[in-house]
Symmetry: C2
Subunit: 117 residues, 2 copies
Amino acid sequence: MSAGSSPKRRTPPLPGRPVRGSATGRPVMALLDLLGRRWVQRIIWELRGEALSFRALRTACDEVSPSVLNARLGDLRTAGLVELSEAGYRLTPEGQSLLRLMLPLHDWAERWARRWR
Amino acid sequence: MSAGSSPKRRTPPLPGRPVRGSATGRPVMALLDLLGRRWVQRIIWELRGEALSFRALRTACDEVSPSVLNARLGDLRTAGLVELSEAGYRLTPEGQSLLRLMLPLHDWAERWARRWR
DNA sequence: ACTCGACGCTACGAAAATCGTAGCGATACT
DNA sequence: AGTATCGCTACGATTTTCGTAGCGTCGAGT
């Protein structure tokens, strides 16, 4: 490990504690903070099917920088939405229940796109 | 390093054109790019009720920096999700239909929070 | 007319997040 | 030994976000 004991601790958003943009830490605000970080929703989206290795996930996310991917996976693991299994990274049951809320976004986006054709 | 004099235009994510993290421009990827920008989901969330003035919206979003707020409002207006009316900023019908997909996040977050108490 | 306050919004330097590339140590198979 | 993949780290460059100050406009009040 060591990892140089970072001089600045990055705090993943969790319900019940102050997050960016909300001193109250109301759960929905913590969630919006988490989901508003780049690649977070995309990662959840790409894990909708089978488990993916770190590298496969990186490829699925258009070769996202590994430092950011690792940071996001840390956030998501801390939040209890993602876990690393034998087969690779995958959604926890909690993560799957959140994914279920996101799935309708696909069809919505398709309809949205028709306005731009 | 280009000494280019062009002010580097920021392109809001729209379906059908390449966006950050997806050369294809598939609608859902454009949407995830848009929603993954900071404050975007929060802005939609805060506009779930009545129309809000720029300043009221800024206050609702915990005094977010006006430059970022304006940039996001530009993205959202270009995307056809938000419009400026007499009464202030408000969601378009399109934006309201997206909000409807987001509303369940509140209850989900409440349940999520119970794991951390 | 003049001040006052609120409006949408811009400027700009500082700080933080993100990116891109290279590579490490471990493990496994040849 | 050589090759390949694994999760993951380092670190400088770039982009985004932040924080504060303030501009120009408008309508209400005096």
